[in-house]
């Protein structure tokens, strides 16, 4: 049965998280935007203590698909929906702070999705410990963004160790994982450049591994509380067992690991959409309250030809935000039900990224000079929201994936 009512469990969590976002995150949002590269440690320690276990290994991590049990009834799961709803609330509080919350992040998600039981045990336990801890993922290189097949970082097996060499950029929470806590980073490297995508494997690199160095901490337009770093690997040696999935190349039957890591995007893309929606809702809530205070009424039922520009804009923002949320809920609902959702995940992210970028820009515009002032949060949300249309695959990459699926074209037929 089609139903849009959140379960009592999710509703209760949503309310609790919203209160937390409102009382603990929003009040310090501006401060940690201005104090770039500093962390609200008090908050993070509290988060780790109180919510560490509830978050299930960190925000933005989502959860991998579970195999459908053979025979028997499908057990209704709503883990991913729970995460999406929670993420929206926290990001409503503040995107920069939320993004730098302790937890496994994308690196943790990759281990969760494709690690062996031993790997999961070894690498994930730390996220539910006493101290805040972070995981990170290093994919992007100066010359390889969405084009992951072009990754030049190499991994060569030397006895019982892999030796990594190369340079990574745009590693979210890289400093948090490697310098500020005892975390790790999942690094994508090629074991055989001639094999193209099939040669690319994810490797877990622990904090403090010799040969790995943070070479740069980026200054960014928005999400300033969250650190973004460059990493260099110079003869960085890691244990042989730190590879995620099979080390075999070309053997089609053994690409499970790679595919599973790619499949984490099916879980994380809707979460990025939920992040965007949280920021968009913050802006929309703000502007609607501001208008209400001024006694401006939005006349919902009237004809489009009678609407003021302001009314039309607000209604469009509201409908766009809701549409993005419903597309996101659909994508995570499919994931929770063990259905293939890569198309829907990309649709949700494409819509949310573009819609919220526009919503926050419009919100600034509608508030006139007030919107442009740093006294007001709108300008910050406009800066923060833009990243959602970029990371985890730009809006254009999402359209490309959507179009390929629609047309049933492979990457060679639709470049």
């Amino acid at each position: 049965m089609i139903d849009f009512e959140l379960s009592p469990k999710i509703r209760a969590t949503k309310n609790m998280v919203h209160m937390f976002a409102e009382n603990a995150i929003r009040p310090i949002a501006r401060e940690y935007d201005e104090k770039e590269h500093e962390k609200p440690w008090e908050l993070f320690k509290m988060v780790q203590k109180v919510m560490g276990s509830m978050m299930g290994g960190g925000l933005g991590g989502g959860e991998a698909k579970e195999e459908k049990p053979e025979g028997g009834e499908k057990k209704p799961r709503e883990t991913n929906l729970m995460t999406a709803v929670t993420v929206e609330e926290i990001f409503w509080g503040d995107a920069g702070i939320a993004l730098s919350f302790p937890g496994g992040g994308l690196g943790g998600a990759a281990v969760q999705a494709s690690g062996t039981p031993e790997q999961r045990e070894k690498f994930l336990a730390r996220f539910s410990g006493e101290e805040p801890c972070w995981g990170a993922m290093a994919i992007t290189e100066p010359e390889a963004g969405s084009d992951t097949a072009n990754i030049k970082t190499t991994a060569v097996l030397d006895g019982d160790e892999w030796v990594l060499n190369g340079e990574k950029i745009f590693v979210t929470s890289g400093k948090s994982a490697l310098e500020d806590s005892k975390g790790f980073v999942v690094v994508w490297a090629t074991v055989d450049r001639s094999a193209g995508r099939a040669g690319i494997k994810p490797f877990i690199v622990e904090h403090g591994t010799p040969g790995m160095q943070i070479t740069k901490i980026e200054d960014k337009m928005g999400i300033r509380c969250s650190d973004t770093v460059s990493l260099s690997f110079m003869d960085c040696r890691i244990p042989k067992e730190n590879i995620l999935g099979s080390p075999e190349v070309m053997d089609k039957t053994k690409t499970e690991g790679f595919k599973k890591v790619m499949a984490t995007f099916d879980a994380t893309r809707p979460m990025v959409a939920a992040m965007a929606i949280g920021v968009g809702r913050a802006a929309l809530d703000f502007i609607k309250e501001a208008l209400a205070e001024q006694g401006v009424e939005i006349r919902y039922g009237i004809s489009p030809n009678r609407m003021t520009v302001l009314e039309r804009e607000i209604m469009q923002m509201e409908a766009d935000l809701k549409a993005a949320r419903l597309l996101t809920w659909r994508a995570v609902w499919m994931l929770d039900n063990g259905e293939r959702n890569d198309l829907q995940a990309s649709m949700a992210k494409a819509k949310a990224g573009a819609a919220v970028t526009r919503i926050t820009q419009k919100a600034v515009e509608l508030m006139g000079p007030l919107g442009y002032s740093r006294e007001c949060m709108l300008e910050k949300w406009m800066r923060d929201s833009k990243i959602n249309d970029i990371f985890e695959g730009t809006g254009q990459i999402q359209l490309l994936i959507t179009a390929r699926r629609l047309l049933d074209f492979g990457r060679d037929q639709l470049k």
Partner: protein, 369 residues
């Protein structure tokens, strides 16, 4: 608990109506548009689906268990994928029938509902839209003034589908002008009532298979009992919102079909040695079209779900309808653009979708869920 899964019954309705749209409506779409008439066989076979009677309870001679807005929008989406004009023709009785079912007095239900449960298609008209550039459903200029035990209607209407073909018409008029939505009531008026003037058939940009007329009320007197809901009147905004959900669902259907058509064309049509769908300029248009169709469907579902749950849904319905009208225009436009010159030729369906789409912004009433 959140779910996007159709019930078994909804899936059955969806499949039945989808195959009717594909096999019976679409093949005759062009012919009926050009000839300006919905073919009798489509009407007869469409009526056999029992979409209307299936919602009317047994006590009023129907065979249904009541009205579900969600199931209705699912059915209407499929009808919309067949043809907009045919769908509006076939579903024209819904406004009167569902309004009576939803808000009529017991007496009104008894006297009006059974006629829609027969074996023959029974049209009914809805007079809501008015021929003014600044028309707004919250500020109707057609008035109904109380005089003793009668109401006197005055004003002009347009886009009244099947006005001449229907025995009954549901007319919306302001009983308290200036009171917005709260000041409007609905009246059930037999076609032959003195003071009802049905004009020449209208000529519109699209949906030409649907016969629409201007209707003028000149001191048209109806008994108080003709007022929907009796003395207390009706919740007009609720009725209007149910209509908006219907129009939004039809737009989703049309949009869905246009995306499929454009997708197939983009795969088949070769230019510069490869299918045009291999170019991002085309592929990205398609992706955006598909996303917006899905977005509109979900907005419509959510509003319909609220309606069924008894939660206020009027704002959501308005947002969904406006979103749907914008989506339909964007999708219609792009489906023409993707076909290039071929899209402009009347042999192809896309130019009709493009013309039909524009109507959705102007339409109000006409179909109800």
């Amino acid at each position: 608990m959140v779910s996007f899964e159709l019930s078994d019954e909804q899936r059955m309705v969806q499949e039945t109506v989808a195959s009717f749209a594909r096999d019976q409506m679409e093949p005759l779409m062009r012919e009926s548009e050009e000839s300006g008439a919905v073919p009798d066989e489509v009407i007869a076979k469409g009526w056999e689906l029992g979409l209307l009677g299936g919602c009317i309870p047994e006590e009023y001679e129907g065979f249904g268990e009541g009205l579900s807005a969600l199931t209705s929008v699912i059915a209407l989406e499929e009808l919309g994928s067949g043809d907009l004009a045919m769908a509006l023709h076939l579903m024209s009785p819904t406004v009167l029938a569902y309004a009576v079912m939803d808000q009529g007095t017991e007496e009104q239900k008894k006297s009006y509902l059974p006629r829609f449960c027969g074996e023959e298609f029974t049209p009914a008209a809805c007079a809501l839209v008015e021929p003014r550039y600044d028309f707004c459903p919250s500020a109707l200029t057609t008035t109904a003034e109380r005089e003793y035990d009668e109401y006197v209607l005055n004003g002009r209407k347009c886009l009244v589908a099947l006005a001449r073909e229907s025995d009954l018409m549901m007319a919306f008029a302001a009983t308290q002008p200036g009171m917005g939505f709260a000041g409007v009531d609905a009246f059930i008026i037999p076609r032959d009532t003195k003071g009802v003037e049905i004009g020449e058939r209208e000529k519109n940009m699209g949906v030409n298979a649907l016969a629409t007329y201007p209707v003028t009320f000149k001191d048209c007197r109806v008994p108080v009992s003709a007022k929907l809901g009796g003395e207390e009147g009706c919740d007009y905004l609720r009725l209007l919102s149910r209509c908006r959900l219907g129009l939004a669902a039809l737009a989703v259907g049309m949009g869905k079909r246009a995306v499929q058509h454009s997708r197939d064309y983009a795969r088949d049509r070769v230019a510069f040695g490869e299918p045009i769908g291999s170019r991002q300029a085309i592929a990205f248009m398609l992706a955006e079209m598909a996303i917006e169709v899905d977005a509109t469907r979900l907005l419509t579902w959510e509003a319909a779900w609220r309606c069924d749950k008894g939660i206020d849904f009027c704002k959501e319905a308005a947002l969904a309808k406006n979103y749907a009208a914008d989506m339909a225009m964007m999708v219609g436009d792009r489906s023409v653009q993707i076909m290039g010159g071929h899209g402009y030729i009347r042999e192809n369906p896309v130019e009709l979708w493009f013309r039909n789409a524009r109507g959705l912004a102007a339409f109000e009433g006409m179909v109800m869920v």
